[in-house]
């Protein structure tokens, strides 16, 4: 049973507060949708939760331990940002092959094949990542989530550039992850994810 908790976190840039007093408490099997207009600080909040940015107030805990400076937390988490985080010079297959070892997993060629098949990327396996279309690149980024099991998913606009078919797949992936062992935090405009019945957090009202 994992637990992800944020207590009274806030983030300030000079004089303007991006968000204040955000409280999050999630157990395994729970998800959270972060809503808010563009520029309301959704991405900043997600980066703070992932530990990439330091909050100016409050603290964030993973299984009762403050995440600050803990390498083990970073490896418990999938972070999918606006950019796909691909290695442009490597092929689709190599990207996943690299990632599996990087995350500390045993390489399993069949598993990579399976993931590529499911995301309809199999026929591009030898194409350089930079040559993929926006939708294909996004799917390759999502492939990382499927390839390596990690309990916490932090997804920033994961549905960007996806067609309806892939959107449904992503929806199923999230539902699957929650039902197994996961916690999901997702920032999105997409109404499609309403079916997941996640708790909601609205940003923007707090900000003046």
């Amino acid at each position: 049973m994992d637990n992800f908790k944020a207590q009274k976190i806030g983030f300030k840039r000079n004089h303007s507060s991006i968000f204040e007093n955000v409280e999050i408490d999630l157990q395994t099997g729970e998800g959270l949708v972060v809503r808010g207009a563009n520029g309301s600080g959704k991405s900043t909040l997600l980066r703070v939760l992932a530990g990439f940015l330091e909050s100016s107030a409050g603290n964030i805990q993973w299984n009762k331990q403050t995440i600050k400076n803990t390498q083990s937390f970073a490896n418990q988490m999938h972070y999918l940002g606006h950019q796909n985080g691909l290695r442009n010079a490597l092929s689709v297959y190599e990207n996943l092959h690299w990632y599996a070892t990087f995350a500390g997993e045993e390489i399993n060629t069949a598993k990579i094949q399976g993931v590529l098949d499911r995301l309809q990327l199999a026929k591009f396996w030898n194409l350089r990542a930079e040559k993929l279309s926006a939708g294909q690149a996004r799917r390759l980024a999502i492939a990382r989530l499927m390839l390596v099991q990690k309990p916490l998913w932090i997804l920033d606009e994961p549905s960007a550039a996806l067609d309806t078919q892939s959107l449904e797949l992503l929806h199923n992936l999230i539902a699957e992850h929650i039902s197994k062992t996961g916690i999901v935090i997702i920032a999105t405009h997409e109404t499609y994810f309403a079916k997941l019945n996640f708790a909601q957090l609205s940003l923007g009202n707090i900000n003046d």
Partner: protein, 220 residues
């Protein structure tokens, strides 16, 4: 652990060598800068031989600045740096692998071509040998320094101007030892090399950590 490091190095080298211009440009730049000096100073062979080690070192320094200053540019643009923070290896170890690969790919060819430049400048063989040794010890320090400051300035708009300003003063000791050793007496040579080696070890120990901290500040 070793498997992870091998994986890092393997794929880093793959992505560097796949775009061949990545490692050709610094070498061409290096040779061109060195070629500018005879044109600027005049083709007096004695003078050129005397200052050859300085010329080659300055050319190497500028080439390193140029190539390592952009070490994290692509990774930052593609969001890959965020992924790098979520791996099984300590971030500083990954960064060290990355810098080591870039040193091999950028400074390796540069050092390989140095004997040729030495012959162009009519340097003595013993001096060329010493020059190569100092380059082998010194350029990794340059790469580590450049990488750490490149990480710090990664999101700044004026980084192209700022980076040289920040790095050059830190490069000076290495430049001094690198060129000084070539011209020094044998007793000073061993002392100088030992110092350069000590500086290299210090940099390896300290600068990857500094790069990691700098990335956390810079990626903001």
């Amino acid at each position: 652990m070793i498997k992870l490091i091998v994986n890092e190095i393997n794929y880093e080298m793959k992505s560097i060598q796949r775009d061949w211009w990545n490692w050709i440009i610094p070498v061409v730049f290096f040779v061109m800068v060195a070629a500018l000096f005879p044109l600027a100073i005049g083709n007096n062979p004695e003078l050129l031989t005397q200052i050859a080690s300085g010329i080659i070192w300055i050319a190497a320094l500028l080439a390193t600045l140029l190539s390592c200053g952009n070490l994290f540019k692509n990774d930052a643009q593609s969001g890959h740096l965020d992924v790098l923070l979520t791996g099984a290896l300590p971030v500083s170890a990954i960064l060290f692998c990355k810098i080591a690969c870039h040193w091999l790919a950028f400074c390796g060819p540069l050092i390989l071509i140095t004997p040729l430049l030495g012959i162009f400048f009519k340097m003595e063989v013993a001096h060329i040998q010493l020059l190569i040794i100092t380059l082998l010890l010194g350029t990794p320090i340059l790469c580590l320094l450049a990488a750490s400051l490149a990480a710090l300035t990664i999101n700044l708009e004026n980084k192209n101007l700022l980076l040289p300003l920040l790095i050059m003063p830190l490069f000076i000791p290495i430049l001094i030892f690198g060129t000084g050793i070539v011209l020094a007496t044998p007793a000073e040579v061993s002392a100088g090399l030992a110092l350069l080696g000590a500086m290299l070890l210090l940099s390896i120990g300290f600068l990857p950590l500094m790069t990691m901290l700098a990335l956390k500040v810079g990626v903001n």
